[in-house]
């Protein structure tokens, strides 16, 4: 068969908000060229017209799935320039929201992975289990999806009393559910045959391409910003970082399950150790950093997100640059899909945890 060029484009049940130009030879893929940019809205330029508090609902929208993790480096950048000291109870609550967001985002990853592989039960179960954590996040912050909970100087409100018991019940319930996920999906021999050995990213290639997040940890490199440069109260909490040496799609899915277990243990510890006190500094609405520039990073559920803030003393930022983990992993799509069959293209690029809206901003 001659060479065929197919656009697995934006209107396709197997792609997100972006296009993949695929050159095929029969059923085998010769080359994949990703074509992002369909959702580019100029987020960084728009942020120059909003003041520092109005930017908070703005910057959580690109990756609305893990909103709190995206806001972490932004609030750290503003606090860095203003030299603020956040109260300890506020930092603990920030960590609890961040870990809840991580679980919510990972469950969505499994849901779409299930659909792409053809497993409809694995679509329904994670979406049902997300309900427990979204309910918890709604008790804490007041909204189910767009939280807008982190502020420069702390968090917006204190957590109610009923959260502790409900969080413990939800975590106990979910730990039993993770065993069922392993039985029906991860250890299913059909899925193992499909995903093991598919889309391998070796250790040298991972370092050369500059990937971040669970993709990096699945290729054998133990790197996590929560342990390397601890922020908030992560240095006081006890958790591990799962690493795998295989680098194929099965290992990337396995790392997501292990990370969910670690997140649950972090939430339980944080709820037990949380001290009493104020949850935010009272800045009386004056958030106006002095002139300067700073660079901050945090670990979101897809990898390392970083903000570079230049301020000239005005009400709005002078320049804000935001680099998201999906944008860093974009190069790996064309690298791991060489030689695969066409049927493996959606599971392969989704296992890198690529979220198109975040990469385009």
């Amino acid at each position: 068969m001659s060479e065929l060029t197919v656009t697995v484009g934006p209107q396709h049940p197997g792609s997100g908000h972006f296009a993949l130009i695929v050159k095929l030879d029969g059923d085998k893929i010769v080359e994949v060229i990703p074509d992002p940019g369909y959702v580019h809205r100029g987020d960084e330029k728009v942020s120059e017209n909003k003041n520092y508090i109005q930017n908070i609902p703005h910057f959580e929208r690109p990756a609305i799935l893990d909103a709190s993790n995206m806001l972490f480096p932004y609030v750290h950048a503003v606090e860095d320039l203003m030299k603020l000291e956040v109260p300890v109870r506020g930092q603990y609550i920030r960590v609890i929201m961040a870990e809840l967001n991580r679980i919510i985002s990972h469950l969505y990853y499994f849901a779409i992975y299930g659909i792409f592989v053809g497993h409809s039960t694995m679509f329904m179960w994670p979406v049902a289990d997300r309900e427990h954590f979204i309910d918890l996040a709604q008790m804490i912050s007041g909204q189910r999806v767009g939280f807008a909970f982190l502020l420069p100087g702390g968090v917006r409100n204190d957590i109610p009393e009923a959260v502790k018991e409900r969080a413990n019940e939800a975590c106990n319930y979910f730990e039993k559910r993770l065993i069922e996920y392993e039985r029906i999906f991860m250890n299913n021999p059909i899925f193992e045959k499909r995903a093991k050995g598919m889309g391998i990213l070796s250790k040298e290639d991972a370092i050369k391409l500059g990937v971040v997040g669970p993709t990096l940890r699945a290729s054998g490199i133990k790197s996590d910003i929560r342990k390397d440069e601890p922020y908030a109260v992560y240095d006081k909490l006890d958790f591990e970082i799962p690493v795998s040496k295989d680098g194929d799609s099965w290992a990337r899915a396995w790392i997501h399950i292990e990370e969910m277990r670690q997140s649950m243990s972090i939430i339980k510890q944080a709820l037990k150790d949380i001290p009493s006190g104020p949850v935010k500094l009272n800045l009386r609405g004056q958030v106006r950093p002095p002139p300067g520039e700073t660079f901050t990073r945090a670990e979101s559920s897809r990898g390392a997100v970083s903000f570079y803030l230049i301020s000239n003393g005005g009400m709005t930022p002078y320049r804000l640059r935001m680099i998201t983990p999906s944008f860093r992993n974009l190069r790996a799509i064309s690298h791991i899909t060489k030689g695969l069959l066409l049927a493996d293209l959606p599971p392969a690029f989704w296992s890198l945890d690529y979220w198109p809206v975040e990469a385009d901003r």
Partner: protein
């Protein structure tokens, strides 16, 4: 042989779920219960009081028309506009200007509640804002002053055979 055992354990896991309780709840007949009375803000302390962020409620007798909520929303979604209502006379509001909220644009972030220094604007539990045309989603200050009647009684409970809404 290993494959057969793993496939068998997957089938047993599927059959086990036939005896668990369903998580779905039937929406118009059963509604979710929220803790608390809605999101409120205490301007003296400077912290919010946790609650659900739904439709707003405006206390007409406390609103002074300072339009701080309008200025905060100007950068977020431009959902608040200040209008003059001469037939409502409130002692603290000299020009009788009150905010109106367009719920086709509101993102329910709650920063307008944070911005109000007079405890005049809070948020309530109601989220069922549907209408047949765009104009009826623009709530005038008199409409915002009516306290909504939302009553929900179902929440997630954890039982022996799984989690359910009860």
């Amino acid at each position: 042989m290993n494959y057969v055992f793993k496939l068998f354990s997957a089938i047993i896991s599927g059959i086990k779920h036939l005896f668990m309780r369903r998580l779905t709840f039937r929406y118009p007949n059963q509604k979710l219960k929220f803790h608390g009375d809605g999101y409120q803000y205490d301007p003296k302390e400077g912290v919010g009081i946790s609650g659900y962020r739904g439709r707003h409620i405006l206390y007409l007798e406390k609103c002074t028309g300072c339009s701080l909520c309008f200025m905060m929303c100007k950068g977020i979604s431009q959902a608040i506009q200040m209008i003059d209502l001469p037939n409502i006379q409130v002692p603290v509001n000299k020009k009788s200007s009150f905010p109106q909220i367009d719920y086709a644009k509101c993102v329910y972030c709650g920063f307008c509640v944070d911005a109000c220094p007079f405890k005049a604007l809070f948020e309530t539990n109601e989220y069922e804002m549907v209408s047949y045309d765009r104009e009826s989603l623009l709530f005038t200050p008199e409409q915002l002053a009516i306290k909504p009647k939302y009553k929900g009684t179902y929440e997630i409970k954890y039982g022996k055979r799984g989690a359910y809404h009860g």
